[in-house]
């Protein structure tokens, strides 16, 4: 489904974020990407979302070279990839409901469609009673659940989560991971970047470990080992 082909990202001669990275993600897989801070996890996700361009190498999403897409075509790719970030990245001037609806409105879905889908995902993440709250009126865990709802509402093929539990307490962490697992069980591919040992070990799914921009381990049913 996703294929990284000899991807390197060099910010400056003294700072190489990714060095000749190749791997692929199969459909419906739950892949954890682990490594210390600065290992290159976030850069890897940014390249996949075309937030940044690689120095060399190609990244494919279902045989489409994502960096060959024009700025006008990018939204269509991004509507198929839901993303969740450590710092939530909600739209602060919009309510929880509007944040989730935005992803659908931007995709040009009808109002009835939006109403029913948003209510549905709000139920999935358990935030029906907070739907008209603004982000600053929500707790960290609630914000992240809104972000996840926004990521899944367009029924994407792939969910990319960059340290989604980095700012959360253990209880909220477990809840967020549970939601991700549930989404994966419905058939959505999940790419989770994290440095939370417990989360990775509890999942027991495929783990790719990167260090200093290189993949040093790729285990099916792996554990967090550094």
């Amino acid at each position: 489904m996703v294929y990284f082909d000899k991807v390197s990202k060099i910010y400056s001669p003294t700072s190489t974020a990714l060095d000749d990275v190749s791997f692929s993600i199969e459909p419906q897989e739950f892949l954890s990407l682990v490594g210390q801070s600065g290992a290159g996890k976030t850069t890897l996700l940014k390249l996949l979302l075309v937030e940044e361009k690689p120095t060399s190498g190609k990244i494919f999403f279902e045989s489409q070279d994502v960096h060959a897409l024009s700025r006008g075509e990018l939204p269509f790719l991004r509507r198929r990839i839901g993303c969740v970030f450590q710092d939530f990245r909600l739209l602060s001037s919009k309510t929880a409901y509007e944040n989730i609806a935005f992803a659908m409105e931007a995709a040009g879905r009808t109002d009835e469609d939006i109403n029913s889908s948003v209510s549905q995902v709000l139920e999935v993440v358990g935030l029906v009673d907070k739907s008209w709250h603004f982000p600053h009126e929500l707790s960290g865990g609630e914000k992240q659940r809104v972000a996840i709802a926004r990521a899944i509402v367009n029924q994407p093929d792939l969910i990319v989560a960059d340290e989604p539990t980095g700012n959360l307490d253990p209880l909220n962490t477990r809840e967020i991971i549970e939601v991700l697992k549930k989404i994966n069980e419905i058939g959505t591919t999940v790419l989770l970047a994290t440095h939370n040992k417990d989360v990775v070990n509890a999942l027991g799914k495929r783990v790719i470990t990167i260090e200093k921009g290189k993949i040093i381990r790729d285990d099916k049913g792996g554990r967090y080992v550094i």
Binding site: G72, L74, P75, R78, R89, L90, L91, S93, A106, D111
Partner: protein
């Protein structure tokens, strides 16, 4: 689909305008300053042009004919002059009219009246009063008359007025250039101030713009609400500016009329209200939307 998106863009633009509250208000106030400068420039030009036109109107040359010049001859010269491109207006003053004007002017002077009575015939000749389109053209008009060497012409008062006419035409030209230069510089400053304010307002949204892109919104869908907001800032600012002008001109109009002898600006404001309002709305909306477009551009690169 397109209609749905346009509707959503406009709706979100209104909502953002309302939710941004103080930021919207601050932007509108800066825009009011910009539009106030624009409006003042328009009114200033009206005043300047009227004053200059009045001044220019005072400049003319007169061709005096000898007392024995025949009326047909004078009329013929008048027609010939009227065909010149440079000439705007010619007034023919017959000998009789000149005499009666003279008498009217000196009605209270018994001595003059008495001496006129003693003269058997009219001592004054006919004359042509010529107004050129441009003060600089009096030179060529008088040269034309001199070159035709018409024997019945007594004198042309251009030569003795030359210095005054030249100086006045220089002042008129300088005033126009200065007016144009000031307009240009002031509008440029006003535009930059408005543009930078909107840019700063949008700077606060730069992270949100990135998030919207990552969530799969097209650039146009992201920009739309900002443009709508920009137009709203412009329209509200135009509205406020027109309201500010009312009491200001009510007070300033008569004062300026007295000082410059020009038109009453308040009367101008009232009679050209919709035109003025329209210009300010257009300028405001154009500035607001263009600034939004330019300001969002750099954050849409993701």
């Amino acid at each position: 689909m397109l209609l749905i998106k346009i509707r959503r863009v406009i709706k979100v633009g209104f909502i953002n305008f309302w939710r941004n509250g103080w930021l919207s208000l601050a932007t509108i106030l800066v825009m009011v300053i910009t539009l106030f400068v624009f409006g003042s420039l328009i009114l200033g030009r009206v005043l300047l042009n009227a004053t200059l036109a009045q001044l220019q109107d005072k400049v003319d040359i007169t061709v005096y004919f000898k007392t024995d010049a025949k009326e047909e001859e004078v009329i013929a010269i008048k027609d010939k002059l009227a065909k010149l491109n440079e000439v705007q207006d010619i007034i023919y003053i017959s000998a009789d009219k000149a005499l009666s004007d003279f008498k009217d002017r000196h009605l209270n002077n018994a001595l003059i009246a008495q001496s006129l009575d003693e003269l058997a015939e009219n001592p004054l000749g006919a004359s042509l009063n010529i107004k050129a389109k441009d003060p600089a053209q009096y030179e060529s008009i008088s040269r034309f008359l001199e070159a035709s060497a018409i024997s019945s012409i007594d004198k042309i008062n251009y030569r003795q007025n030359k210095v005054v006419i030249d100086r006045l035409s220089g002042i008129l030209k300088a005033a126009r250039t200065a007016g144009f230069g000031t307009t240009l510089v002031l509008s440029l400053i006003a535009i930059l101030v408005a543009f930078n304010t909107i840019r700063l307002a949008i700077f606060t949204s730069k992270d949100e713009i990135t998030v919207m892109r990552l969530v799969g919104a097209s650039s146009r869908y992201i920009r739309g609400p900002f443009v709508v907001e920009g137009v709203m800032h412009g329209v509200f600012a135009a509205f406020i500016t027109m309201i500010i002008f009312y009491p200001l001109l009510l007070w300033l109009g008569p004062l300026a009329e007295q000082f410059f002898g020009g038109p009453n600006l308040f009367a101008y404001y009232v009679s050209n209200f919709f035109q003025l309002f329209g210009i300010l709305i257009l300028v405001g909306a154009f500035l607001g939307s263009l600034s939004s477009l330019i300001a969002t551009r750099r954050y849409l690169k993701v």
